[in-house]
Amino acid sequence: MARSSKPAAQGLFQRLSGWTPQLVLVPTLLAAFVYVVVFSLWTLWISISQSTLLPNMAYGGFGEYAALWQSKRWIVAYQNLFLFGTLYVLGSLIVGTLLAILIDQRVKFESVWRTIFLYPLAISFIVTGTVWRWIFHPQTGVERALNDLGWISAQFDWITDRDMALYVVVFTGIWHASGFAMALVLAGLRSVDSDLIKAAQIDGASMARTYRRVVLPTIWPIFVAVTVVLLQFAIKTYDLVVALTQGGPGVATTVPAIVVYDLMFQRGQIAQGAAAAVMILVALALVLVPYLIWSIWRDKQGKRTHG
Amino acid sequence: MSSLLIRNLRKSYGAVEVLKNINLEAESGEFVALVGPSGCGKSTLLSIIAGLESVTSGEVLIEDRVVNDEAPKDRDIAMVFQSYALYPTMTVRQNMTFGMECRNIDKATQDKTVQRVAALLQIEPLLGRKPAQLSGGQRQRVAMGRALVRDPKLFLFDEPLSNLDAKLRVEMRSEIKKLHQSVGRTTVYVTHDQIEAMTLATRIAVMHQGVLQQYDTPKAIYETPANMFVAGFMGSPNMNFLSAKIASTADGLGVVVNGGDGTVLPVPADRYQSLENGQDVVFGVRPEHFSPAHEQRAERKGRTTVSVPVTVDMDEPTGSETILMSRIAGQDAILVCEPDEAPTPGETMDFAIDMSKISLFDTKSELRL
């Protein structure tokens, strides 16, 4: 047999080719390891090092965390994150669900409507923020237009108002993300058994009640998933605020990601910037870890009930 | 020369042992059916023969060569999958030539082989199509064609008919049988359908919970099942299991069904030698081995029969025969009889049991006595 003529070489080759799937993954695995594990630990170490303008890897303790939590700017940023995150997620979910339900009514030109509601997601936060800044700004936007129309006393200056500017960010965020919620909720609505809706109608439920009591509750896992993704977006929010308000007026719309950038690259407080980055990671973990545990638990439950 | 030999095979996933000490041998040209309920390990065993799964211990030999460590492609086997596994992006012809292409067989030979096999399976008009454009039965044929072009040492079938509707299944079953007879290759065929196993196989391996229960010809499996599992699994409707006792009469030993009038049913002495008087046994009779006593059908063939009174609770006419849900001595039993001879529900009638076809099992070990 030809096969047995070169057993040693054949064996080595065979063993190597048996490892192909693992070998193929090595570059990515290495990159992912460096990127995820090494970089994270690196940043973590910087946050407790004596670094200031330049890295200094000597141990410096947890002082930077304490300093961070004593800085007014960071407190405001974290408070803003909570308010922004809550309103942004709720708003996007509500608008997205409303749009999904409207489109679900077998409307004509469905794909046109869907394309319109989803397109903001395709353009950058930078473009979105710049465009809406012009529209919200009293000199160039809505207020100016109203004044020119003859309503001289009209005032719409939220973007320059310390108390209202954050709501401008919330509005723009919802404008950008509600299409995402719509797409997922719509996919969920389409997966609901239409017999369920027929049954509800025969039971005498109105349209609103059918959705509220029958359809939406059956797709609740989609709402959980959308919430988690949007919270993630909210925690990472950076570009949108930079383009829209640059964190201002003052620090009114500052968010944690902006503080990180400023500390690291503007003020030369690398260690404190790293500490702030770690706090962002912690916030993300607080959202993602419970979700991960919950979905694993649900998978197991599903397996158990299905056999 | 044995075409396939499996020696002391074990397979575990972690702590779970799914195959326990399997020993199996197939002669050249044989058609072996692996049959059992789902989860019995039959598909794992087939995957191990194919080389798609590793063994934990033991040996697999194909044509007297140990193939434990050989990759599937080096074992010279062909396999037909339950899902057919036709490559969706290739045409029927490409599906059939892919294996030859992997083995660097020249184009002319490839074409010739495809022509020959396509003619054999009557799928020539389909060669240019994609799998998605085929009907279930056509996909089944192409899947077999893909296996046949290879002319391998061993054909493996993994429940190939289970995705077809009932009528097509019967058709393809006889087609597979014809193919096996004309090609004459050793075949291992996994199925959960005992009728497929009975009709196709030269030998049947009945598996249950990872253990090979019995490996024998269809006739032997049907007539002398090794244990109560095999007896119950093969045959439809199921064999009746009546709890009974051994009693002695002037003519030798017999069986008394518990809860009845005490009639002793004589057992053929030559087949059951180790019985003891008073021993508890499970008395197994297949539904088709009852016949109305007054017809004396078995007697006319010169067999010993005994009549028992049977109370019919319900009947299920299937057209060709009538299934009777009944009680014998208060125990549930299922009988099959000809529609014209069926008693009406509620009636009690004497039925003769063909005592040459009965089975007796130990109550504890469930093994055949």
Partner: protein
Amino acid sequence: MAEVSHQAYDPLATGSKTQQARSRGIVYVLLTFFALLYLSPLLIIFMNTFRPLDEIVREGFISVPDSLSLKYWGEAWGSFCIGGTCEGVSRYFSNTLLMTIPATIFSTALGLVNGYALSKWRFKCDAWVFGLITLGVFLPAQMTLLPWAFVLGQIGLSNTIMGLVLVHTVQGTSFTTLFCRNYFVAVPDDLIKAARIDGAGFWRIFRRIMLPLSPPIVIVCVIWQFTGIWNEFLFGTVFTSGENQPITAAIVAFSGSGTGERHYNVEAASVIFAALPPLFIYVLGGKYFVRGLTSGAVK
């Protein structure tokens, strides 16, 4: 969307004719309202790319234009001054293109092979490998800024497009691996088994069986990587400066500075330049865009 089948049942098509017409009317009124809200910002900005500057300064963005001109597009593309150089956005546009195209190709190719190996060649700990790779999807960029800056400096890629290509390829491969793995998992294992019995190895199965099945997921990866990398700002602003910045950073540079005279019309045209390529891709592959959303979010 091909994967979303239309329901045969229409809940609004019941009851009396007037009732049906009324509820249908409400639906379309609401849809139109939202559609205007979503479209108007970009349309308003687009309109202002044709208006003279003094008119915009006088009347704001939201007003009926008196005169229109195409020349601001030319200015924005070729001669607009950004950060001291007066070459328009064309330079930054091509920077972004040079960053986006290679990074998209590399990450998609890697993701395909990774996804295939992880879904069809199961091995011990493959779940851990997959988990580690997908963690890259969730890791906030802020955690990697300082290490990346150091690494890019060490390998001489600071302030280069190449450096951004590397960063986006590493990060993007996490996404594409997640996408491809979840897509390939749905390909029946029997196909791989049949091919192995036919004598095909790892790469032949990839080339002959998996790749021909891949166009949908390749499109999803390309769309997502292209739009994602094109729109990215943080890495661009941190790792490059001046003439090497991507277009998003350039926009922030001119529009956020707040000092000097504003050229609203030219700025508007520049913003539209930055928005066009991803919009084009989105309109072209809308249904795959949504598929990427669903497979990424509800995996």
